[in-house]
Symmetry: D2
Subunit: 331 residues, 4 copies
Amino acid sequence: MIIHLKNNISITEAQSLAAKYQAVLIEGNPLVLVTTSKLKQADEGLQLVASDIFVTDTDIQLAGKQYIATKREIKLKDLSIGGSSANSIVITGPCSVESEEQIESAAQLCVELGVRILRAGCYKPRTSPYTFQGMGLEGLKLLDKMRSKYGLQIITEVRDSTHINEVIEYADVIQIGAKSMYDHGILRQCGKTTKPVLLKRGFGTTLQEFVQSAEFILSGGNPNVILCERGIRTFETKTRFTLDLCGVAWLKQNTNLPVILDPSHAIGYSYGVPDLARACMAMGIDGVLIESHPNPKVAKSDAEQQLNFDEFRALYPTLKSAAACAGHQVV
Amino acid sequence: MIIHLKNNISITEAQSLAAKYQAVLIEGNPLVLVTTSKLKQADEGLQLVASDIFVTDTDIQLAGKQYIATKREIKLKDLSIGGSSANSIVITGPCSVESEEQIESAAQLCVELGVRILRAGCYKPRTSPYTFQGMGLEGLKLLDKMRSKYGLQIITEVRDSTHINEVIEYADVIQIGAKSMYDHGILRQCGKTTKPVLLKRGFGTTLQEFVQSAEFILSGGNPNVILCERGIRTFETKTRFTLDLCGVAWLKQNTNLPVILDPSHAIGYSYGVPDLARACMAMGIDGVLIESHPNPKVAKSDAEQQLNFDEFRALYPTLKSAAACAGHQVV
Amino acid sequence: MIIHLKNNISITEAQSLAAKYQAVLIEGNPLVLVTTSKLKQADEGLQLVASDIFVTDTDIQLAGKQYIATKREIKLKDLSIGGSSANSIVITGPCSVESEEQIESAAQLCVELGVRILRAGCYKPRTSPYTFQGMGLEGLKLLDKMRSKYGLQIITEVRDSTHINEVIEYADVIQIGAKSMYDHGILRQCGKTTKPVLLKRGFGTTLQEFVQSAEFILSGGNPNVILCERGIRTFETKTRFTLDLCGVAWLKQNTNLPVILDPSHAIGYSYGVPDLARACMAMGIDGVLIESHPNPKVAKSDAEQQLNFDEFRALYPTLKSAAACAGHQVV
Amino acid sequence: MIIHLKNNISITEAQSLAAKYQAVLIEGNPLVLVTTSKLKQADEGLQLVASDIFVTDTDIQLAGKQYIATKREIKLKDLSIGGSSANSIVITGPCSVESEEQIESAAQLCVELGVRILRAGCYKPRTSPYTFQGMGLEGLKLLDKMRSKYGLQIITEVRDSTHINEVIEYADVIQIGAKSMYDHGILRQCGKTTKPVLLKRGFGTTLQEFVQSAEFILSGGNPNVILCERGIRTFETKTRFTLDLCGVAWLKQNTNLPVILDPSHAIGYSYGVPDLARACMAMGIDGVLIESHPNPKVAKSDAEQQLNFDEFRALYPTLKSAAACAGHQVV
């Protein structure tokens, strides 16, 4: 249940009510209580303090259509997705920042094609401690330089709580990776900023758990959460993961959050990325994230799944027509 | 390895060679041997009898791009998919034949919209023995009537070997269901006809096993196999299954067989079928199979996933524009 | 709901009642109706014809504890499992019958150790059409010879409906394999015999579906069904499958059928079979099925998972102490 | 490859070698380099600096049998597991510390039965932000009190990097939970202590990734890592997770780390815990972790899977006989 408190309720009173109803208090305007306790809407005490009451399914609260029936609009500086916009964004860039030369060529590709958001990782959640772990803060500074020089927005990943503040400082959109999406330290810190957060679904994560991770951020006070499906782990190993478009249909039907898809990580091989990217766009979603690299063969991570620049140039215009099938336009 | 034998080799000689090389003999023109034994292409005896030798991956033989580099063309009477056609077909109809009135209304919807293939099941592979098991032969006869009256092609499912001959007799395209695709009795019998076979992937079946089921039919002598992805079973249960479009990309990349998708069974709920059907079409595939029913609420099986006729009418034209994104046309 | 009809109800009347209640009729003594229709126990008509009424969960009927609260006893000639016996059986033998010499050495191992049931396959449900498919009827005859010569019971697998009658004729226990467990042709034919059936769980099959396959046999009139867990398909590929002992605990808790485990197929590698076999026995189950072969390296199928005879000799006595932990004895 | 450097190599020289070979340097005695670069053992430069060279599989290094052929011994104060001990430990306690009274009754149960290690969580990695999140530091202090008062060892979970130092300070054994096992912040900090770490496998984590998480800790300099299998996520939902004993067999075969199992989280329901716990012990593993609670019905988390004290009392002695089947003793 979500309770909008009346204007005359003070924060102190709201805190008492939160304790009484075992609720989380969101200190915005209005003050909001969220609780999974089984309260009755007709409860007299509740009626006295509430201006609006939203009865929600037990497993989706702030992110649910029962609370906000239409998709939330999220501003990415001068861009906007969700709301009534029917906008779809394209995000591209290499898996990792590897050097200034490499990231600058990626930035130039964005400028050439009109892509507005550059993505690259600096803190890599690698499986093995013995492989390239990312450039860290130095990488963030290179991304910052690309932003200034080329007017791009920057999205980059936080791996664990130890560098969350740096990522929040440098990124325009904070990416929480598939392996970090249960990390309360990250989620709670992202709840305290208002920067948009791209929350990736874990590859072993149910839709319910995924949406609950978003609830950590939303209930922390940050309404700007974008969901990202990037493939789940199944018994099929010919491809790296299995892109869950059925799940995307469920998210569109049941949540009020924009959804972006990442076909590159899903399949793990560049040959299938163009077909999958068009399929994603034809779903009527809010954007795609596609890895590209000036020379995928020498990439320090995820070499097999990154498109080279010519492949990306060939793909990009077809994304526009695929989006159009679903009544969307690429911005 | 696939060996095309020289014209002067007799069937008796070919049988001896098959025994020698632990190979399966396909008695067409040319005579073909298929073996997974590790033969050397340069083997002298082999060179004497072979006109062509194709070295294949161990796990794809007749269905592989290493044998036939382009997609096989499959004739469905006056329609054609695969080959150089870029055709995509739309197949629709109810989950089960329930009555003459019901199946006739489905046939009329096909005629109204220009859909050429009607699909409905007569032998239902139900999970429980206590639910509707299908109309059996009586249902096949109703489908036959619709074919005659409305000029439609008929696709219907074989559930087990006990009625395979009836299905081969009545269907224009034989559907092997997800639960029956390992059934050697069915596969071998389908290898002896030349009617097209729509082979569905089992929900617990790897891509490798799926293609091997096709090899049973192909090596039996029937070259007309169409693959159908219809969702695999994963940990996610908010949707019925998980449509594996990454797997479809793999099949397109590695096999020479046409691929059709079934989004209805994948998601299991009608709300997501239109978005998914468009996504499928944007993959550049050879067709989609979408369940529709005059009144889904009273359907005797799969009630939740069937579109009603108005929903299907709204979807149909958008499938054409989605196919067009991938350079395909709906026929 | 399961309804035991009163003694004075004729078969013709029972058939009418079955139609009325959309029920399956089991023609035993008593006559039994099973239905998933939502009938009320207090229904007047029902009370008139029923001697006993069992309200069951929608997804377990004849196999459920709500119908029969204790485990069913199943006679395997002079052996008995289930009921109040606390007996556990050990079944062994090679994956496939390959030759008389091979199967005779397996039979002799059984005699040496006191193992009473020999298992080997004649119709192999191979993934590929290009590998060894089993000896078929010739293999059945060799198994028959071992039964006569060594006094062993024989368990062998049916692959599809085309040879079900031969298997029923030659086997003491009919094994329905993991890939065939949805096959209505097989299930219905097994319902018409009273020979015990070892029903293996499909690797992509939920517990609910598994139990429903058993319901096909039980409702056909054969009460002698043994469930066999043999590993499910998961994302983990270092082992061939994942043995689902949590599922076994669920089956023990919710069904009235004996349960046997097959650790060999589950892990797919012989190194882990002894540890797993002891773990299975410590669950207090009704038996284990362990593959052994006189020379696993040259086996024509499943070479990696079969124990050699010395490994099996070392394992066998430890199974007794593992069974004893759970209050069971090996018979 | 793992390289033990000669005694005469200084740390500065070792750092240069690490850079040269793209290796991680472990500053112990001897100095050790670990690298996944493809070096040749016969390389002249390498031979000059190395006292020992271990060629390892690419995906297991310090944790592998190719490096240390026998199981590592890990000291838990006066207890010891692994090595040549054949010891198995039993760990119990409630899911969460809820109050002093509750945790003290759990401690008293340990004392009563001779269980030496008490486990309870203070930082709970809950799916939802709206449920009980754990007592935090206050809970750690209660655990500390139980240690002093009852002479028990304490194991408790770290959820994210923000409180890793507190957990390292208060715990005798640091538990890294299933949702946190990819967290580089936690793993690296655990590499800097020498306290034993119980590393749980993520429910969507492959065995390879699991062992690589251990490599983060081991290569950080902490040799005291214990692996814990606690169930993986599969398509089966009648139980909470699927305990992967095939995977445990693989870990025993391929790694040098002790393995402990957690049947409580795997099945998620108390009814199956005793059978599963005995099965685990019969695998010949190094311990089990079983949740128990003075009154499970009112537990603030995981109420359904915790044994009550009488159930635990009944189970405990049978664990000893199950361990004995595999030649182990409970300590």
